[in-house]
């Protein structure tokens, strides 16, 4: 059987390149070309303990920060692999031509939230775009050799399962409208579930969440669905939330609210060591409380960032802010608000990226690996690239097999395109999720949201699957009766060791079942 990858962002590309470098053929399916993947939006950078800033950084400290940032529910074997291999991964990207900022030949590193050392390598404020361009170039060389075959306007619909074993997947050509079956080992790298929250995330609308919902319906175990990262600093623009990269605070930006007409730098007062660079969950929550306490909006003051830093390290950010807010961030503070930014939850995998379904792998933001209850800035691009590589390496250990022939069926299928799905239905579902799973949660809100879900009337399989995934998310949040990382319960504000576990959601297509398991358990997917 051949190898089929769905999703061509950082994770899918890294996997395809790793396979091709070993001489193995693969198929790379994506709803849109790689240039349009969410990965191109990443700005701030990618973490690795290169120790280029003379601060005695080490992979051990990167490991500790990641485990602690994830509030002790990330698979520690996986995090160890991630952080140990981070320097190698970033230097590989550099060798592919990513124009990382450097000084005297060495990669510069900037401070990012939740980390005491400067560890985040960056290419000005367009790191994701720069990494993607180099990976796309590399993949292209293998496309010409026939090692990578792209299907770049093809949507993943569902798995082809046989007795609980994945045999391949169904796709739909978004141009011709025709469907095809592909047979082989499947690696899913379809990104985060932004589409469950249309208009409310910093990501792309094209990571619709439908791929996740479909495989959840098909029995794959998902985990940490309650863990949604709200980024502290976003601004509202038409149709979405626009990220103000954490690098803005890394380079000196300060958060404040007006209290009795004086600026109150609440983060600096409450957290004298990491100040504005506490982990994102903490900053977002403190912003929520500061706003509630004072009734005034949170402002980000970047006027203290030196002009030289704006030019050399944050030029794109400045352009973007001026165009969207009409304000010059060098001269005046801008109003920021928390916005949904990253999904720590996703399909459950072990450290080799195997899922609960045999012959099905997953990588990137589509999975729940590495980040526990809260993802550190700069760790997700790392997780996507390293995760893609790691999944591919495991796939390489499978016996080599023949290529699959892809035959498109004659008649166009009547399966609706995402764009044709009912936006109003998706919006209604989103409102329910937002009500239940805001920054601050409680049992009453969650119960209300779960009842509201029952009132929705899904019309087709796609909508039914979305409702099921939404139910699983709300139930995961309801069952975790404690506060940890991104999940904050007003009614259970303490972190409780009894819940130092991963929430795992499964469905048989009718009911959802939630359980809690030890994140370090061997064979976690069984």
């Amino acid at each position: 059987m051949s190898i089929i990858i769905a999703g061509a962002g950082l994770a899918g590309l890294s996997a395809a390149i790793t396979l091709a470098q070993a001489g193995r053929k693969c198929i790379l399916v994506s709803a849109q070309p790689s240039e349009r993947a969410q990965s191109v939006l990443a700005e701030g950078g990618i973490n690795a303990a290169l120790d280029n800033m003379g601060e005695n950084d080490s992979v051990q400290e990167h490991y500790e920060d990641t485990v602690k940032g994830g509030v002790y529910i990330a698979n520690r074997r996986a995090v160890k692999g991630l952080t140990d291999n981070a320097p190698k991964t970033v230097m590989w990207l550099s060798s592919l031509g990513v124009p990382f900022n450097r000084e005297n030949g060495r990669l510069l590193q900037r401070p990012f939230g939740g980390q005491k050392k400067r560890r985040t390598a960056f290419a000005k404020s367009s790191t994701g775009k720069m990494i993607m361009t180099s990976l796309i170039d590399k993949a292209r060389s293998f496309e010409s050799e026939g090692l990578i075959k792209r299907y770049p306007h093809h949507e993943f619909l569902r798995l082809i399962n046989d007795n609980g074993i994945c045999k391949g997947m169904r796709i739909k050509d978004r141009i011709s409208g025709k469907c095809a079956s592909m047979y082989g080992t499947v690696l899913l790298a379809c990104g985060g579930m932004n589409g469950m929250f249309p208009g409310h995330t910093t990501g792309t609308v094209h990571n619709t969440g439908d791929a996740a919902a479909a495989v959840f319906m098909q029995g794959a175990a998902f985990s940490s669905l309650e863990m949604i990262q709200y980024h502290p600093t976003t601004i509202g623009i038409p149709g979405k939330r626009c990220l103000v990269t954490e690098a803005a605070r890394g380079e000196g930006g300060r958060l404040f609210v007006k209290r009795d007409n004086e600026p109150w730098y609440f983060m600096e007062e409450k957290y004298p060591v990491l100040k504005n660079l506490m982990p994102r969950d903490v900053v977002a929550r403190e912003m929520f409380f500061a706003r509630r306490e004072t009734g005034s909006e949170v402002m980000l003051d970047m006027t203290g960032i030196p002009h030289k830093v704006w030019c050399e390290r944050l030029p794109d950010l400045k352009k973007e802010l001026m165009s969207y807010t009409g304000l010059d961030p060098e001269k005046e503070p801008i109003n920021v608000h928390e916005g949904i930014h990253y999904f720590m939850g996703g399909i459950l995998t072990n450290e080799h990226h195997r899922t609960s379904i045999e012959n099905l792998y997953a990588a990137g933001e589509f999975t729940s690996l590495y980040h526990g209850a809260n993802r550190l800035g700069g760790n997700s691009m790392l997780g996507a690239v390293y995760g893609g590589i790691t999944a591919a390496e495991d796939i390489l250990s499978l016996p080599q097999s023949s290529e699959c022939e892809v035959v498109f069926e004659d008649a166009p299928s009547d399966e609706p395109y995402y764009e044709e799905s009912r936006a109003r239905f998706n919006d209604a579902l989103c409102e329910i999720l937002l009500d239940g799973m805001g920054i601050v949660r409680n049992e009453q809100q969650l119960d209300k949201a779960l009842s509201a879900l029952e009132e929705l009337t899904p019309e087709n399989d796609r909508e039914k699957a979305r409702v099921m995934l939404a139910r699983a998310s709300l139930m995961s949040a309801a069952e975790r009766k404690e506060s940890r990382g991104a999940h904050y319960r007003e009614d259970y504000p303490q972190t409780d060791d009894e819940y130092k576990k991963l929430s795992v959601a499964r469905t048989d297509g009718g009911r959802v079942h939630i359980s809690f398991i030890d994140a370090d358990k061997e064979d976690i997917c069984r």
Binding site: A37, G97, K138, S144, E419, R422, A423, D427
Partner: protein, 239 residues
């Protein structure tokens, strides 16, 4: 506020095209065309003749000018729908919205830009070895890596057409990264591709200059590439 959107519709390349006019209401002066199209597709919208508006086919992804998906011809100019503020057209009271014309039509405002990606494969746009690096190389690599493959520059270029041997700025700019980052003595192939498919065909009409939605500095990048690829100067001081 309200504006009339005159949208070119066509069910398939074999069907006849027509203009559907929709009066769109909005409150915020920062409203952009992509958001209007998204709202229209939420349904319940009528055109100026009272007909229901069926779902419009168009492409988007990032909604913040970073992925190139939503390029179309807006008010006669190729632009990104997510960067086209409706208030810009307030004086006219209407704006025309059409698909990019140089690429095969799929439906309505969606076109098939596969040719752009095929071109990059054909010119063998990749590094054969590890990247060469110094400050100047990195600067050019950064600028040329920013290309969104949106196709706006090709739409206005008088010399580009699908199937022709001139590949336009959307290939010339990315080639500059490879020219800059190839190790010394390793760039012969890409230099030739650049000369043949970009330099010799570019009439320097500059039509594409102010069009690029990524704001890429083509002049600076091309000056370096021309020197390196055409005049074989060691502009990057490679050792």
């Amino acid at each position: 506020m309200q504006i009339r959107l005159d949208i070119k519709r066509q069910q398939s390349p074999d069907d006849k095209s027509y203009i559907q006019s929709i009066v769109y209401e909005y409150d915020d002066k920062s409203e952009v065309l992509s958001n209007a199209l998204g709202n229209i597709n939420k349904g319940g919208c009528k055109d100026t003749e009272g007909n229901d508006v069926s779902p419009l086919s168009w492409e988007c992804s990032c909604l913040q000018k970073k992925c190139g998906a939503c390029a179309m011809v807006i008010g006669g100019r190729p632009r990104l729908a997510c960067d086209a503020k409706l208030s810009e057209f307030a004086n006219e009271g209407f704006v025309t919205v059409e698909p990019l014309s140089k690429f095969p039509l799929i439906r309505d405002l969606s076109v098939d830009r596969s040719v752009m990606f095929d071109t990059l494969r054909r010119i063998r746009l990749w590094l054969e070895t590890d990247a060469y690096d110094n400050d100047k190389v990195r600067d050019i690599a950064y600028e040329s890596s920013g290309c969104l493959q949106c196709g706006c520059c090709l739409e206005v270029c008088p010399n580009f057409y699908v199937g022709g041997r001139f590949y336009g700025m959307a290939a010339g700019l990315p080639m500059s990264k490879i020219i800059a980052q190839s190790q010394k003595g390793n760039d012969k192939d890409i230099r030739q591709q650049y000369k043949k498919h970009f330099y010799s065909g570019c009439g320097k009409s500059l039509a594409c200059r102010n069009i690029c939605p990524a704001g890429l500095d083509a002049d600076r990048v091309m000056a370096s590439s021309n020197a390196a690829a055409v005049w074989k100067r060691n502009v990057y001081k490679k050792k």
